[in-house]
């Protein structure tokens, strides 16, 4: 009698992912952000033309920084609103009165948002590459394809970081309000960027307890300062060793997995009063 005897595990995740993707890309605010990134990049060109000979590097540097910032903003703001909005509008009632589990919901939301961030980062990256090609054509040096390869490598590392930020935002959004989630997410993201300076800060403070705390923070967060260093080397043509890369990627993905599992547990236990 019922048509729903089939196993829906994968389908439900895909449905939720696509719905989230659609919702996010149909939001106009994103396009304002991207316009902002474009403006920053163009500003970079103007700045770059002031210091002849260096333009391409400065241009790329500014452009990539803008992309990582805008990508981060999208991840943080869309991510922290993800679950909250569904609760607020009670659309979550529709989902959890159908045969859908907490993990399917969380995973779908996460994948949908990552997909959106990917498309945005890729679009901004394409724009940056075109500008680099247009401005760089008058200069000797690395060929366009080298430039493109470099930009792609850089963007992949940026995206890796955004995968983490998105997971963080998703996790917080399962149990806290958007404002608090934004604060938590930004705090942790920033702490990750402080990297080893956290340890130095601990030494400087001469307070053993504080030093312990800071080193705990350092060792329990992904080392984004390290990631940024690698990106800096890339900009100067040094490709990082596979070992370092494998370590970073595994570390970040394991972290993402842990955050999603926690988010799924929280969601599964939720009560909708």
């Amino acid at each position: 009698m019922s048509e729903s005897g089939r196993n829906n595990s994968v389908e439900a995740v895909i449905a939720i992912a696509l719905n989230t993707f659609r919702e996010t890309v149909r939001d106009r605010i994103i396009y304002a952000l991207i316009l902002f990134a474009a403006i920053v990049t163009v500003l970079g060109i103007i700045l770059g033309s002031l210091s002849v000979g260096q333009d391409i590097r400065i241009l790329k540097d500014i452009g990539l920084a803008a992309i990582s910032l805008i990508g981060g903003i999208i991840a943080v703001f869309a991510g922290t609103n993800l679950v909250y909005k569904e609760l607020e509008r009670r659309t979550i009632y529709i989902i959890f009165t159908k045969p859908v589990s907490g993990w399917q919901f969380v995973l779908g939301k996460y994948i949908g948002l990552c997909l959106c961030v990917l498309v945005m980062v890729a679009a901004m990256g394409a724009f940056l590459s075109i500008i680099v090609a247009a401005v760089g054509s008058g200069f000797a040096g690395a060929s366009f394809f080298d430039q493109l390869r470099e930009i792609t490598q850089e963007l992949s590392l940026i995206y890796l970081e955004l995968l983490f930020v998105t997971a963080l935002a998703t996790f917080f959004s399962t149990f806290s309000t958007p404002v608090m989630s934004v604060l938590f997410t930004l705090a942790i993201w920033l702490a990750g960027h402080l990297g080893e300076s956290l340890l130095e800060l601990g030494k400087l403070s001469q307070n053993p307890f504080l030093a312990q705390c800071l080193s705990l923070v350092f060792y329990s967060l992904p080392d984004f300062a390290g990631l940024t260093r690698i990106r800096g080397h890339l900009l100067y043509g040094t490709v990082p060793g596979t070992e370092v890369l494998t370590y970073l990627i595994t570390y970040v993905l394991a972290y993402v997995l842990m955050l999603l599992v926690l988010a799924a547990i929280v969601t599964e236990r939720k009560e909708f009063t």
Binding site: M1, E3, S4, I94, K98, P99, S101
Partner: protein, 266 residues
């Protein structure tokens, strides 16, 4: 064949109000059983606990005491959810989706194949009278249009059992007639229907049995034919008003002797 599709025993729910940390009992000892093919109408004043009862039966809320069994499985069990449909109170969906996209989404959550999904969505759009608005984004929908879409999504999986929380609210007279017709045709197919409504003539027309709730308690359950047809009452409204008046009097007497909890008085 009279297997029990909805069964609750001593189903109760307390909430802790965050301000005073005081416990508020919003449902007390609900005992109910609805058999396959039956249409059960839940009526009662605002705040009586109708929506709460439905949410407990669906597993959206967890009981403080007692339990609910749906299709022989505990409330919220995925296997039972696969076979039922739910229309929430004041439905509001994704404003960025069109009605058709939303129905497709709902179908996907059940794991229905895409061809079947499309066919079913097309049929339901016609049934609920949304043909013209189906490809419009939901943020442009009126209240009644959202209500119609809510009904459509609750039927996407061809359910054995539906829970409808105020299906007629916000509908124009034509919409009300349409929903009555949908109810009757579901009934003919043997679907079990559990719904609540404030529109007593509609309840009277489609239900086999009604239950009256008052302040978190089920005060009476009665077959409709014993009320207005062969019964002593002019119509369901007459019955309802008398039951509530009696419940209020009992409640007042109980409060006077101090056996009732505080929150029931206020």
């Amino acid at each position: 064949m009279s297997d029990v599709v909805i069964q609750t025993t001593n189903l109760s729910k307390e909430l802790t109000s965050s301000l005073l940390r005081r416990k508020v009992r919003i449902l007390s000892g609900l005992d109910l059983s609805v058999t396959r093919g039956e249409t059960f109408g839940l009526i009662g004043p605002n705040g009586a606990g109708k929506t709460t009862s439905i949410k407990l039966m669906l597993g959206l809320m967890r009981p403080t005491e007692g339990k609910a069994q749906i299709l022989g499985m505990p409330a919220g069990d995925k296997r039972a959810l696969a076979k039922l449909g739910y229309l929430p109170e004041n439905p509001y969906f994704y404003s960025h989706l069109t009605g058709r996209e939303f129905l497709d989404f709902a179908g996907q959550l059940f794991g229905i194949e895409s061809k079947q999904r499309r066919e079913r969505a097309g049929e339901l759009i016609k049934t609920v009278g949304l043909s013209e608005a189906a490809d419009m984004q939901m943020r442009k929908y009126s209240k009644g249009m959202l209500q119609r879409l809510g009904i459509a999504q609750s039927l996407i999986n061809n359910p054995e059992l539906v829970f409808w929380d105020e299906p007629m609210s916000g509908l124009d007279p034509i919409g009300r007639r349409d929903v009555r017709q949908i109810l009757l045709s579901l009934k003919e197919k043997g679907t079990t229907i559990f719904f609540n409504s404030h529109l007593l003539p509609d309840v009277n027309e489609v239900c086999d049995r009604v239950g009256v709730m008052f302040k978190g308690r089920m005060v009476v359950q009665e077959k409709v034919k014993n009320i207005s047809g062969e019964g002593n009452y002019k119509d369901l409204e007459d019955f309802f008003l008398e039951v509530i008046a009696k419940a209020e009097a009992d409640n007042g007497a109980a409060a006077a002797t101090g056996t009732q909890s505080k929150e029931a008085v206020s």
